[in-house]
């Protein structure tokens, strides 16, 4: 029963706030930070190369207003971009899983879209769309819709064959099987994809801002680097990471709320 307990709790992970499961991780992370700090002092690593955690923290505190303002831009790009890529990704995945022809036609383009370096086609984007928020959102979408498509397609195709046959005997059409069986089966896969996508959205927004912008953390980094304000660059990275971790956790929480049957079934006992 002890082992049982263990697995039971393990299943709750992110959603759980049992303090005892956080002690070791927090200690380890702190140790790491202290080590980093020490190494920087011991080996006299230059501030302009790799700032110590303490100077990054100090920079975050001192430039909090600046960082906050730029974060607002970036977060909006991330969220709008991610939501759009969710819609687009899910629709595309649906079409691909539903139809052979669409799959064979669209999948290669979807894959190709991932191998195009955004920075290189930036001039095209800019000339067609301009310099507003839209090109950044497009970049976010381009980067984050792919894992959603791949995972959702795989999920839609993972539906249990026996259950599919059962539905057919009930007279279900191709479409009904899709909606009533394949879609629910794809949800756990979709959430895996969403977790990857939301994290990639963060870097997507940063890259989008490099392509031409006047605010956002990516812009701030671009501007700070040639001035050798390395702490500011790292401060931005820390905030980006925080945003990434927070959004990832948010997806996990939404998953818990949205799929109680899945979690319940897994979690019981």
């Amino acid at each position: 029963m002890d082992m049982n307990e263990e697995i039971k709790i393990e299943r709750r992970w992110f959603a759980s706030f049992d303090f005892k499961y956080w002690i070791i991780p927090i200690c380890l992370t702190s140790t790491l930070l202290v080590l980093w700090e020490l190494l920087v002092w011991l080996f006299d690593v230059k501030q302009w190369l790799l700032p110590a955690p303490s100077s990054i923290l100090q920079e975050i505190f001192e430039s909090r207003q600046l960082l906050f303002n730029h974060s607002v831009t970036t977060i909006s790009e991330i969220i709008i971009g991610f939501l759009l890529s969710l819609v687009i990704g899910v629709c595309l995945a649906g079409a691909i899983a539903y139809s052979n022809v669409v799959e064979r036609f669209a999948y290669p383009f979807v894959i190709a879209s991932q191998t195009i370096p955004v920075i290189v086609i930036a001039p095209l984007l800019l000339i067609w769309i301009g310099y507003g928020m839209i090109p950044k959102i497009i970049v976010v979408i381009l980067i984050s819709f792919f894992p959603i498509v791949v995972n959702t397609v795989d999920g839609l195709k993972s539906a249990d064959n026996d259950t599919m046959r059962m539905l057919k005997t009930l007279g279900a059409s191709r479409w009904q099987i899709f909606v009533k069986l394949q879609v629910p089966y794809s949800i756990p896969f979709l959430f895996s994809g969403m977790r990857v996508a939301i994290t990639l959205s963060v870097i997507g927004a940063v890259i989008g801002e490099w392509v031409g912008s006047s605010s956002g953390l990516g812009y701030l980094m671009m501007r700070s680097a040639p001035q050798f304000l390395t702490e500011r660059v790292f401060a931005s990275i820390v905030i980006l990471s925080g945003i990434g971790i927070f959004l990832f956790a948010l997806v996990v929480v939404i998953e818990r709320l949205y799929m109680p049957w899945y979690e319940m079934e897994k979690r019981q006992n």
Partner: protein, 311 residues
């Protein structure tokens, strides 16, 4: 000069040298390739490897950290880097004047900075460049607020040609303008030093303080060989481009041929030797930057460069 340090650092008879370029190889660097091709480095038992880091400012970091022995950077960047404690010094000026400029399409009718009032101007987001631009506007009697600045990232040329902006700041009149003209557009250039901006050295060759102190002989040897390369390149630009393309086959030869004609005179202008830098020019620039709030007051321009290796 004490050359004994060279002997110490030899490995199997040659010294490996890393040279970091500011940007992808182009005619600005043809002197290095000429020196390589003609054996000036190997004559002095140097084996020079040439690299391009991701961002121009990375050069000062890799050089400052001792990863690369020499690097190509910009005069203002050297000052900014020193402000943050990066121990690098300019050891030679590679181009005697600014290459950075304002570019407009010829048929836009823009011929002076004040014509840009009410227009859109594309920049790359480097604060120093924006300050240069503002100074040009002010010099020509226009308030910078009258111009809309658009950060276009890396894509200056396309932004101008695509009609998204009326002018761009940050492109070299020895490179981008030629590339754009090759696409069938006519370009006008407003050069910085013509419009009230302190005349500065566009590209400088840098080394770390550590290297300068411990291996002066090496620096000297490297510079001497490099000077030879650049003077040969200046004498035979066509050959220089061929050598450059030989090392880097992806380079567009026609572009570089046009570029080097504009560039070569700036290497050793007015009979100064390649590499010469003078204290006044450094002071002018650093004072100007301090005045504009770009540079912290504690930076000493005298420390930022050394002329001791140029003869």
């Amino acid at each position: 000069q004490d050359v004994s340090d060279i002997e110490d650092s030899k490995e199997k008879g040659v010294i490996n040298i890393n040279l970091a370029l500011d940007w992808y190889p182009n005619s600005n660097h043809s002197g290095f390739y000429m020196a390589k091709e003609n054996g000036h480095y190997t004559e002095s038992d140097l084996s020079v490897d040439i690299f391009t880091p991701a961002n121009p400012e990375d050069v000062l970091k890799t050089v400052g950290a001792g990863k690369d022995d020499f690097g190509v950077s910009y005069q203002a960047e050297v000052l900014l880097a020193r402000a943050q404690g990066i121990p690098v010094k300019s050891i030679a000026a590679m181009v005697q004047h600014p290459l950075n400029s304002i570019m407009v399409l010829k048929d836009s009718g823009i011929s002076r900075p004040s014509d840009l009032a009410g227009k859109k101007v594309g920049v790359t987001g480097i604060p120093f460049e924006e300050a240069l631009f503002s100074a040009m506007l002010e010099y020509d009697g226009t308030k910078p607020e009258n111009v809309t600045i658009v950060n276009v990232g890396f894509d200056l040329g396309p932004a101008l040609l695509g009609g998204k902006v009326d002018a761009i700041v940050g492109a070299y009149w020895t490179h981008e303008s030629i590339a754009m003209e090759s696409q069938g557009y006519e370009i006008s250039v407003l050069r910085m030093e013509d419009w009230g901006v302190p005349d500065f050295y566009e590209l400088v060759l840098v080394a770390s303080e550590e290297t300068l102190q411990s291996k002066p002989g090496l620096v000297k040897t490297f510079l001497t060989a490099t000077q030879k390369g650049f003077s040969e390149a200046a004498n035979d630009p066509l050959k220089a481009v061929d050598v450059l393309v030989g090392f880097n086959p992806e380079i567009d030869r026609d572009l570089e041929i046009k570029g080097i004609d504009l560039l070569a005179p700036l290497w050793s202008e007015d009979d100064v030797v390649f590499g010469t830098q003078n204290s006044d020019r450094w002071k002018q620039l650093s004072d100007w930057m301090k005045e504009k709030g770009l540079l912290e007051d504690h930076v000493d321009h005298q420390e930022a460069f050394t002329s001791e290796f140029i003869e």
